[in-house]
Amino acid sequence: MSPIIEPGPEGGFAIGKIDQLLNLARKNSLWYLLFGTACCAIELMQTGGPRTDADRLGMVFRATPRQSDVLILAGTITYKMSSRIRMLYEQMAEPKYVIAMGSCANTGGLFQESYSVVSGGDLFLPVDVYIPGCPPRPEALLEGLMLIQQKLEREPWLKKAWSGTPNQSDPWLKPRG
C-alpha cells in the first residue's frame, strides 16, 4: 500500500493546514498534457469539449510537458512510441501524475498479442490511475482525473517538496512492500 495515499487520522500522516491549502490549489488546477495516441484521444478531446468540459474543474490542456501536471496515456502505445512517451514523461516538471486511459494503456487491451504494442503503460511508466473502457467515455476520464485530485489532496505536500523525492508511485510490476 502506497504510504502517500494512506488516508485518515489513524496511521496516516497528519496533514497540516498549509498542506491542505496548497493541495486545494493544486487540486483545482490540474493541467493535462495534450497528448493522445489513438481512439481514446478522441474521447480525451470530447472531455475538453462542451458536453463534459473538464475546464469546469480547472483542468486545461497544455501543449508542452513542462507546464503539465498529468500525462494521460490515451490510446495504444506502440514500441516505437514508448520511448517518446517516456521522454515526455521525464520532461514534465514535478509534481506529475500518470493516468492510463482505456484498455490499451492498461494492459495492451485487444492488441496485447500484437507484436508492436506495449502491453500496458505501467510496464514503463508509474501509472497512478487506470481507467477501464474502450474507449472510456468522457465522464469516466473525468472520474479518473478526479481520482488524481483525491490522491493529491491527501499528499503531505511540504514534506515531499522538501525531501526532494521524485513523485513516482511504484510501477505495478515491482514488488510492493
Partner: protein, 143 residues
C-alpha cells in the same frame, strides 16, 4: 515631475523585486528534482537533431530593419505633432502641416519603394503546377 520620474523608477524596481520574491517564496514550497533526461530540451518527444541555435530566415531581419527606421521617425514626429494645436492657435497650422506632411511623404515613398520592389515579400510563390484536366472518360492522363 521629479516625483513622477522617481515613481517610474520605483515601478521598475518593485516589479523586478516582486517576481524575485515570488520565485524565492516558491523555493520553499516546490520540489526540485533535476534529472538528466528531464532537463533535455523538448522536441515533441524526440531527441533533438542538430543544435537548438540556428540561423533563421533573414526576411524577419529585413522587415525589422525597415520598421526600426519608422520607429525612429515616430520619435522625430511626436514633438512636432504635440505642438500642432499650439501652432494652430497661432495661425501657423499650415506650416506645421506642411512640415509633417513632407516628412511623412518622404518616408511613405520609402515604404512604397520597398513594397514595390518586393523586398518585403516572403513567399516566392511556387509556380503553378501545370494542371492537366482529369475527367472520367477522357484519356489524356499521364501521357
Amino acid at each position: 515631475m521629479a516625483f513622477d520620474l522617481a515613481m517610474v523608477l520605483g515601478f521598475w524596481i518593485v516589479s523586478f523585486l516582486a517576481l524575485l520574491v515570488f520565485l524565492l517564496f516558491g523555493k520553499l514550497i516546490r520540489p526540485n528534482v533535476p534529472l538528466p533526461v528531464k532537463s533535455s530540451s523538448y522536441e515533441c518527444g524526440e531527441r533533438p537533431i542538430g543544435p537548438g541555435w540556428f540561423s533563421f530566415n533573414n526576411r524577419f531581419y529585413l522587415i525589422a530593419l525597415v520598421f526600426v527606421v519608422f520607429d525612429v521617425e515616430i520619435a522625430l514626429v511626436a514633438p512636432v505633432v504635440v505642438v500642432f494645436r499650439d501652432m494652430l492657435a497661432k495661425d501657423m497650422g499650415w506650416l506645421v502641416f506642411a512640415e509633417i506632411f513632407i516628412f511623412l511623404a518622404i518616408l511613405f515613398v520609402a515604404l512604397i519603394y520597398v513594397w514595390s520592389r518586393g523586398d518585403l515579400r516572403w513567399h516566392q510563390d511556387i509556380p503553378d503546377p501545370t494542371c492537366k484536366p482529369f475527367e472520367i472518360g477522357t484519356k489524356e492522363v499521364n501521357q
